[in-house]
């Protein structure tokens, strides 16, 4: 048995001590008159009361009310309220020191014992004394109520212990509570009178004599009819009583000085005593033998008390008090799969965590001392063996128990099944392998490895001063030292790793064995299996136990909390506990644990918070999202957490507070939300911050709003300058005039390049020289003379201008692109996963999260996700804001001027003339590199330039209808006001975008239309041998393809292929058209005819079309008598495998003829062995390697002499002009 000290305080002598039954409060009354209130769990002094005069000896908490009472040497009994922190009232009556005070468990009574030889019972509600128990004839040292009976026991210096019967008092008190009949009232009155004369209510029941000196203390057994008392005769006496008598049972001898206090152990058959011999002793109640003695060097013990509910004791001594336990409450346990093996009341039990049942298996009563529970339990599932250790003896002891194989219930729930294990010495012992156990011999500092027959196989010297050993993975041990943990390989006898940590008490491995938590008194070290430390967690109160969640989160308990820790060390509270528990396993929301009585329990926890954090830490955003949507995560802590971890955009979802939302929005760069919040907060500093943030992103329309709101005139002017917004600059100038700010006027006139007003400012401010020279340099001679005159000088009076002044007018550069309308390219913040997901899913989530964050999500969806609406709305508002400029924002110092500005405000913006804005056509041209889009925008010339650059187009006449149509289709007129021309609108192909930088014109020609229309038609013509028509169509397609806009890359690629196909058809058709012309116009030119027919077969046409060409060539060649070449075509035709059998027969015949007569009648330029391209202009072959020039668009190859002619294939481009290649996708 050990005294496990939980709390210790230093103070003057403690004479009285009392536990609070529910909260961790302890009251200590001191010899110097002070009452201290300690929180023994936190170790803090909660309060102190100094109202007693002289030593305070008695103290007691009320079991339910927030009050306590105290009695002192000032004869007073005081009742205190510790919540109000004051003395409620004082009971006076005793005529000498008050030794003890106790509350009745049920009635509003206080019993007090005094040196005036009386025991008094007080009603603290009526604040009267209701009974005086007289009989002792010396100081009464102690008087207590019986825990449940109407008895009182008292101890006195008159060597006696008395037991009093107070049932009469109880009856009288009960009667008080019920409504009284007349008779009862009369009876009571009589009784009351009787009361004045004697102690009719309270009578001495037993008089216990046996002590040789004064008796210091006497107390009842909590359940049995036993009394224990102690006295200055250094003895502890045990008394037994029946209904009629009481007698001394035995005495416990051992103390060698006065025994100040004795009591029964609330739960075990033990007697505790505290003595002035500086010891606390524990006695076996049944054998009356000493079990344990706890000695202190200098402190005499004066009081001892037990917690009414917990296994806690407190003792007061000369220099303070101690709170201690006599036994470890942590049950030894080991988890194996779903089976939990643990020890309760020295019986090994097994709990099935899936079913929640548990049963005893066998008893280990013989291990160690009777009163000491085993410390650890190690389970070996392979052999179904259990290793139990205890520290009852000096060096510790272990027992190796092979559990019975039977699964059935054991006799007496295991109590009657004695273990027949093999014992050995060792401070700690664990299984290290299926058939090996390791036991630590602390004194020898060696580890003994034994087999399952408990035979020593080897002994290993500890590499470090080891205090404890733990499982360290297969064949490894974790050796705990005072300040580190060492991973030790038993086989190699080698230290593998070491981590510094406060003395480790327990080690918890994760289920997969990859993570380990090293638990110390106040710290947890989280490490991986090679002891690479990943986090160190500090707790101010004791850490009790831990278990790993399946997802890699450590759940741990402290004295009063269940908490979690992420692998990287973030931790937080899950639940508050009334009593400590020992975690055995965590599975989802269920925490399995053993409580202090060793009973398996389960606790349901809410894992949301730590799962959220874990998902966040692992960047598993899907899950984060899931959690945000489905659970009600709120609170400052989670916001602070998200902010700290760099996820302000998520935090934004939880925040309602406008300022916080603004801060978060700025942090995550969400300007829209920031703007919204800035409007709501509307403070200058907020606007300034918004302006700075917007500037970083280049969102100058928000910058503008912010500057306006913050009345930042200078910056606003500069912003307008840089964005080329001269119109607003002009307004700024007129505002500057109104404000009478000359510097600002000057600056704005400079920005505007407005010389007259610059001169005017200078002149008005009396800067004549500057005004003069400004006017002069800018050629305003008349004005210059005026100024001279005003200054009263002539030109001759003037010093010559400085040499280097020059005569250049100072003016801002012209605006190339007015950027006033749209923002600069905005820094791409990368749409956060959450922005996107939450926006998209916002609506779905609405129903599920309606209770908490639904509104937020909704708002979010509208702001961020709803691209087609939210942004546009914002934009408009922003613009609108801009125009409020002079109406609201600017507040000139004088009221009159305000009116002035207002009056002008509305008109000035328009009356000063409206300049033409940026038309959407311009935007289209700016936004697209495609000729088609430029044509649609009406920017024909730039479209042509693009085509020229891309495909070397030079002759645009064929494209005219296409250009016009593109333009036509991209504009629509809507009649508006009566008698006015209709309004023109631009048809967009992306009407859902709002950003002007993204708008694009409607697509006039698309690939699908061409494929289903023209291409199909051209093919039909080809098949029907309408070559001229087909040729025209293919050329038309080729030209149209220049104007096609593809929306996906595959289409763009297809367009490129289609261009090649068209080229081949056009070349082939040109050949055939030419051949037919020859046939009719120059029938004599047979060889040219043959050549053309032969070349035709080399165009890369569709398979069936090539066959047509081959058949044509075959017949032409046969007819002309060029049988050898005809046979070549015949073979190619057969190889092409035509479907028509007739064709094959025909080809075979030609082939045969060619074999018979392998000669050609006409000499032609045709070499079918060498690959060649056909020059579309000359219609002659260009063999590989021969010089050629290329037409950039179609890739057609021409003979060099055709360089710089218009390509005959497309009729548009210039042959040989380099080009960048066609683009059909933006």
């Amino acid at each position: 048995m050990q005294m496990l000290t939980k709390f210790e305080s230093k103070s003057p002598r403690v004479k009285g001590i009392a536990f609070h039954p529910k909260t961790p409060l302890l009251a200590a009354s001191l010899h110097n008159g002070t009452i201290q209130l300690w929180n023994y769990q936190m170790g803090t002094l909660v309060d102190r009361y100094d109202e007693h005069d002289g030593p305070v000896r008695g103290i007691c908490f009320h079991p339910t009310q927030p009050i306590f009472c105290s009695g002192g040497d000032d004869y007073k009994i005081k009742v205190w309220n510790y919540k109000q922190r004051k003395c409620l009232f004082t009971l006076t009556g005793h005529l000498d020191y008050v030794r003890t005070v106790f509350f009745h468990r049920e009635y509003p009574w206080i019993i007090s014992a005094s040196d005036d030889q009386t025991i008094r019972i007080w009603n603290w509600q009526s604040r009267t004394c209701i009974a005086i128990l007289t009989g002792h004839n010396h100081y009464i040292m102690c008087a207590q109520f019986h825990p449940w009976d109407d008895l009182v026991v008292s101890a006195s210096m008159d060597l006696t212990v008395r037991v009093w019967d107070i049932s009469g008092l109880r009856k009288k008190n009960q009667a008080h509570q019920a409504p009284m009949s007349f008779e009862e009232q009369a009876a009571r009155a009589n009784q009351g009178q009787a009361d004045l004369f004697g102690n009719a209510d309270c009578t001495v029941k037993f008089l216990l004599e046996g002590h040789d000196r004064g008796v210091n203390w006497a107390s009842f057994h909590p359940t049995l009819p036993l009394i224990v008392s102690c006295g200055d005769d250094r003895q502890i006496k045990l008394w037994r009583m029946s209904e009629t008598k009481a007698w001394e049972v035995d005495s416990c001898r051992g103390h060698f000085n006065n025994v100040s206090m004795t009591m029964f152990h609330p739960r075990h058959e033990l007697i505790l005593s505290a003595s002035e011999d500086k010891t606390i002793r524990v006695w076996d109640m049944t054998k009356r033998t000493a079990v344990q003695t706890f000695r202190r060097e200098h402190d005499r013990f004066w009081v001892l008390t037990a917690h009414p509910e917990l296994n806690l004791f407190a003792a007061g001594h000369d220099n303070g008090l101690i709170v201690f336990k006599l036994e470890r409450e942590r049950p030894a346990f080991s988890l194996s799969g779903n089976q939990l093996f643990y020890v309760k009341d020295k019986v090994i039990r097994m709990a099935d965590l899936t079913t929640g049942t548990n049963q005893g298996i066998c008893s280990v009563r013989k291990l160690g001392s009777q009163w000491v529970q085993p410390r650890t339990l190690s389970y070996n599932p392979a052999e179904r063996a259990v290793l139990v250790t205890t520290q009852a003896t000096e060096n510790g002891q272990y027992e190796l128990v092979t559990l019975p194989k039977t699964e059935g219930p054991a006799a007496g729930d295991g109590k009657d099944v004695p273990s027949e294990g093999k014992k050995g010495t060792g401070a700690s012992a664990i299984f290290v392998a299926r058939n090996r156990l390791a036991a630590l011999d602390k004194t020898a500092q060696s580890i003994e490895i034994r087999d399952l027959s408990n035979n020593l196989t080897k002994s290993v010297k500890c590499p470090v001063q080891t205090t404890d050993i733990f499982y360290g993975g297969t064949a490894s041990l974790l050796l705990a030292t005072a300040n580190s943990v060492v991973l030790f390989d038993i086989q190699q006898q080698k230290t593998l790793a070491e981590v510094t940590t406060p003395a480790v008490k327990y080690v918890v491995w994760s289920a997969d064995g990859n993570m380990v938590a090293l638990l110390s008194k106040h710290t947890i070290t989280i490490a991986n299996k090679s002891l690479g430390q990943s986090a160190l967690i500090h707790e101010t109160i004791r850490i009790k136990s831990a278990a790993w969640d399946d997802s890699g989160i450590l759940i741990y308990t402290t004295l009063n909390h269940i908490k979690y820790a992420l692998p990287q060390g973030d931790n937080g509270i899950i639940k508050t506990l009334e009593q400590p528990v020992y975690l055995t396993r965590v599975k989802g929301q269920i925490v399995h644990c053993l409580d202090r009585t060793g009973t398996p329990r389960t606790i349901t926890i809410d894992p949301t918070e730590y799962r959220f954090k874990l998902a966040l830490a692992r960047k598993n955003y899907d899950e984060v999202l899931q959690i945000i949507r489905n659970s009600n995560l709120v609170g400052q802590s989670i916001i602070a957490y998200l902010q700290k971890k760099g996820y302000p955009e998520i935090a934004l979802h939880f925040v309602q507070d406008q300022q916080t939302r603004f801060d978060l929005a700025i942090e995550c760069g969400n300007l829209q939300v920031a703007l919204e919040m800035a409007r709501a907060v509307d403070r200058e500093d907020v606007w300034n911050r918004l302006g700075a943030a917007a500037l970083k992103q280049g969102n100058h329309s928000i910058v503008e709003t912010a500057y306006q709101k913050a009345k930042n005139f200078d910056k606003l002017s500069f912003l307008y300058l840089t964005t080329g917004n001269t119109q607003r600059l002009g307004m700024m100038q007129s505002i500057a005039v109104k404000r009478g700010d000359n510097m600002s006027r000057f600056q704005n006139s400079l920005y505007l390049g407005d010389v007259p007003s610059r001169v005017a400012v200078l002149r008005e401010t009396g800067q004549y020289p500057l005004a003069y020279y400004t006017a002069k340099t800018n050629g305003l001679e008349d004005l210059a003379l005026d100024i001279l005159e005003e200054a009263g000088m002539t030109e001759d009076d003037l010093p010559p201008p400085p040499q280097n002044s020059g005569h250049r007018a100072l003016a801002p550069p012209p605006i190339v692109f007015s950027q006033a309308e749209s923002n600069w390219p905005i820094k791409d913040l990368g749409v956060s996963f959450f922005d996107r997901a939450l926006a998209n899913g916002g609506m779905d989530a609405e129903s599920s999260t309606a209770n908490g964050t639904g509104e937020q999500l909704d708002a979010w969806a509208v702001n961020g996700g709803d691209v087609d609406g939210g942004d546009a709305g914002e934009e408009d508002v922003a613009e609108d804001e801009g125009w409020d400029l002079d109406a609201e924002v600017i507040a000139p110092p004088e009221e009159e001027e305000v009116d002035d500005v207002l009056a002008q405000g509305e008109s000035s913006d328009l009356s000063e003339g409206v300049s033409q804005g940026v038309s959407e056509n311009e935007m289209w041209a700016r936004n697209s590199p495609l000729a088609a889009d430029h044509a649609a925008a009406g920017a024909f010339e730039s479209a042509m330039q693009l085509l020229n650059r891309q495909v070397a187009a030079v002759q645009f006449a064929p494209l005219k209808p296409l250009f016009l149509q593109a333009y036509q289709l991209a504009h629509v007129h809507v009649p508006a006001n009566a008698s006015l021309p209709s309004l023109e609108f631009n048809v967009r192909r992306n009407p859902e975008v709002t950003e002007l930088r993204e708008v694009l014109p409607a697509i006039a020609f698309n690939l699908d239309d061409i494929k289903t229309g023209e291409v199909a038609e051209a093919n039909r013509f080809f098949a029907r041998a309408k070559f001229a028509e087909s040729l025209a169509l293919f050329r038309g397609i080729l030209q149209k393809l220049l104007m096609v806009v593809a929306t996906k890359q595959s289409d763009a690629d297809e367009i490129k292929e289609l261009v090649i196909t068209c080229r081949e058809y056009i070349v082939g058709l040109t050949l055939e058209v030419e051949r037919r012309r020859l046939v009719t116009e120059q029938p004599e030119n047979i060889s040219r005819n043959l050549e053309l027919a032969a070349y035709f077969t080399h165009c890369k046409l569709g398979a069936t079309h090539v066959q047509l060409a081959l058949r044509s060539a075959m017949s032409v060649f046969s007819k002309a008598g060029n049988h050898a070449t005809a046979a070549v075509f015949a073979r190619r035709l057969i190889d092409a495998n035509p479907g028509d059998a007739k064709v094959i027969t025909q080809a075979r015949a030609v082939l045969a003829q060619g074999d018979r007569n392998p000669r050609d009648a006409h000499e032609i330029t045709y070499d079918h062995f060498t690959a060649f391209d056909i020059c579309p202009a000359s219609l002659t072959p260009i063999y590989q390697g021969s010089p050629a020039v290329v037409a950039a668009y179609t890739g057609a190859k021409y003979l060099p002499e055709y360089k710089n002619t218009v390509c005959v294939v497309d009729g548009i481009t210039q042959v040989g002009l380099p080009a960048s290649g066609m683009r059909s996708i933006v």
Partner: protein, 307 residues
């Protein structure tokens, strides 16, 4: 209902049901206070017909002009009629209207009636200025005096600003107009025009404006169908737009209506471009396309075989 006896004719006028507005009953003997405004609307509706029915307008106005001190508003409408009559003498008409506007320049606070009159004068003047291309002057006319609170002036202004690609200004004008009367047809029209320019959600909302007009009992006139079709087209609903145009063609004179033909042209319907230039050569789209055609030739002329 509020006793605005002009409500009906106004609505028709604003809802682009010009034909119906122009044929509203009007008796010259009507001597109520509303007689003049009513006549003005009818006259304006006649003038807004395509082609304008000038003589009818003048007939309606005649009794009012014959008064000893004819109302400036009547004079302004008459001026527009004169303007539309012939090419020649337009400058004189413009000057006349300019003088009419000037009369209000110095005015401090006129009576309500006077204000309404001023509004009509300004609208007419604005119309003329816009037709003349005097945009600066039009803006000035439409932003001064009672124009600031006159929805018709503001509507004109919005259109002008939009045609100048100043959607920002149009939006702010619309915002200030909204403060005057929130549920007026004109306000909705302004919003719709702006929306059509904006795209995205405002575009969708604009569509509903045209859809509402389309669903009105008096709806499905040429301009309404043209607007409806255009809104469809802007939303890339080409087939629906084509159906609208077909419907418009079924109507009397549908194939002559410049507005309808213009939208048909934008839809790429076969032959509409030529029909447009034949039937309504002065329609802005017809003019625009002609200009683009010559622009093309001009631009194409800059390219050629480069050595």
């Amino acid at each position: 209902m509020e006793a605005d006896s002009l409500y009906h004719v106004k609505q028709l006028f604003y809802q682009a049901c010009i034909t119906e507005a122009s044929s509203q009953p009007h008796s010259p003997s009507d001597s109520s206070a509303d007689a003049l405004p009513r006549a003005l609307y009818i006259a304006r509706a006649n003038l807004a017909l395509s082609p304008p029915s000038i003589s009818a307008a003048q007939a309606v106005l005649k009794p009012f002009l014959a008064e000893s001190a004819p109302s400036p508003a009547a004079k302004a409408v008459a001026a527009l009629a004169t303007y539309l009559t012939s090419e020649s003498g337009r400058a004189g008409v413009v000057d006349e209207v300019r003088d009419l506007v000037l009369e209000y320049e110095t005015e401090e606070e006129g009576s309500e009636e006077r204000k309404i009159e001023e509004g009509v004068v300004r609208v007419m003047a604005g119309t003329l200025f816009i037709l003349e291309g005097e945009k600066e002057e039009a803006v000035a006319t439409l932003t001064e005096g009672s124009a600031k609170t006159d929805l018709e002036c503001l509507a004109l202004l919005v259109q002008l600003l939009l045609s100048l690609d100043r959607r920002d200004l149009a939006q702010s004008t619309y915002q200030s107009a909204k403060k005057i009367g929130n549920d007026s047809t004109l306000i909705q029209a302004m919003e719709a025009w702006i929306g059509l320019k904006t795209g995205a959600r405002p575009l969708h909302q604009s569509y509903y404006y045209f859809e509402e007009l389309y669903q009105l009992p008096s709806g499905r006139t040429g301009p309404v169908l043209a607007g409806h079709a255009a809104a469809h087209l802007l939303l890339t609903h080409v087939e629906e737009a084509k159906a609208d145009i077909q419907e418009a063609l079924q109507r009397d004179g549908g194939d002559k209506d410049g507005d309808v033909l213009a939208v048909g042209t934008s839809l790429g319907l076969e032959g509409y471009a030529s029909k447009l230039s034949a039937a309504a050569p002065s329609h802005p789209f017809a003019l625009d396309l002609a200009a683009k055609s010559s622009l093309f030739d001009e631009a194409a002329g800059k390219f050629g075989i480069a050595a």
